[in-house]
Chain length 200, copies 2
DNA sequence: AATCATCTGTACTGCGCGGTATAATCCTCC
DNA sequence: GGAGGATTATACCGCGCAGTACAGATGATT
């Protein structure tokens, strides 16, 4: 609702967002009450409704934040996706992320999308756009490799990019259910091997 | 809670379960109220609490039902996974299923698992077991092919099976977010191509 | 027809939730 | 130092929700 102007206001809004992000990732948006967020973040109701119109706006803001975070974290990697080392780095980063959450969250973006995609069209579209940007980065990388002659000229770059996104999301989901990175690790390795099978 | 004994009782319980399954798949378990289920299924509260202890029990029952359904639907396919035609059939079946729901549900089992895995350990474990059985079927098929000499002897059957499960789940999730089967179709095709790259 | 368990209708309860109202502070800038 | 907006505290509201109470209907068995 109101954007914070002072330093203190920014911190308050930030605390709410960060705390909500953590809780949403663990127990979903519908499984988290506003009161819980306020208690954990040490803020009050008046503060919440000063910065957010309602819970839906919070959810969308948090989702946008998670997307922003992820894209920021991956921005460096995205630029290196024109090499095998780049894809290996991508895999390692994903696995490291899963491990750092002890496989409890899976993919915060994917989880929230899965929960709300059919009931909140804005969340669905934001997620779609996120996947699009991820795919675009992969397409850029693979295209560069193709142009440099490292990939066969008949390589289906678009389809492969979709494929990579699918594998990443699937791996994160399974690691959450299995509470283990084993299947994710195996899957990502095979994904990379498949990409390399297109070497010319 | 109480198992129904009469024919009428079975029908009532069945109506509640089927209706809940449909609603859970669309809007999640937490996004669906008991009253909504009762209204849509044309039953009353006393009937509900006659057959279920509480909402959690309903959720677990519905989840178990979805798993049972899926395994039943795939049982024939699972036995044919020792051939490329079997895997093609698997892909086609998944795509057909997504299309028949007009990409609104994704994977009912995966969606519910993603929503509740961290807060309901029983749901998480049931889902894990479901993935295990799926993987086991794939392992059986690939092992048979290996023994027949259709796959290279050094093929990583376990890892490939995990990989297939991951791709299937990822594809279903993305089709839900994108409201389209395109990326799923491309991904499944590439998955099959990768399997076939292990031909000896 | 009487019995008894199964099944069902209806009204209710209590509470947690999202959201509001109002007024009190804090901070900055003039 | 005080005016005025930004920020925060507290108390409250109404509703929808999960869950309960209890009486009534059904229907098979004897």
């Amino acid at each position: 609702m109101n954007r914070p102007t002072t330093r203190k206001g920014c911190e308050t809004r930030e605390r709410i967002m960060v705390c909500a992000a953590r809780l949403f990732a663990r127990q979903g948006a519908r499984g988290t009450s506003i009161d819980e967020i306020l208690t954990e973040s040490g803020t009050g109701k008046s503060q919440f409704y000063h910065y957010f119109r309602d819970k839906d706006e919070l959810i969308r803001s948090v989702h946008a934040l998670q997307i922003e975070r992820m894209l920021a974290l991956h921005s460096v990697i995205f630029e290196q996706l024109d090499s095998w080392e780049g894809f290996e780095l991508l895999n390692d980063t994903v696995l490291h992320l899963l491990e750092s959450q002890r496989f409890q969250d899976g993919c915060p973006i994917g989880s929230l999308a899965s929960e709300l995609a059919t009931s909140d069209e804005l969340v669905r579209m934001d997620t779609e756009q996120y996947f699009d940007r991820k795919k675009a980065a992969i397409v850029r990388g693979l295209t560069a490799m193709k142009l440099r002659g490292e990939l066969r000229p008949d390589t289906d770059v678009q389809g492969l990019a979709d494929f990579v996104v699918v594998v990443l999301q699937g791996a994160k989901l399974l690691s959450k259910v299995r509470r283990s990175a084993d299947c994710a690790q195996a899957s990502l390795r095979h994904m990379l091997l498949y990409l390399q099978a297109h070497r010319s």
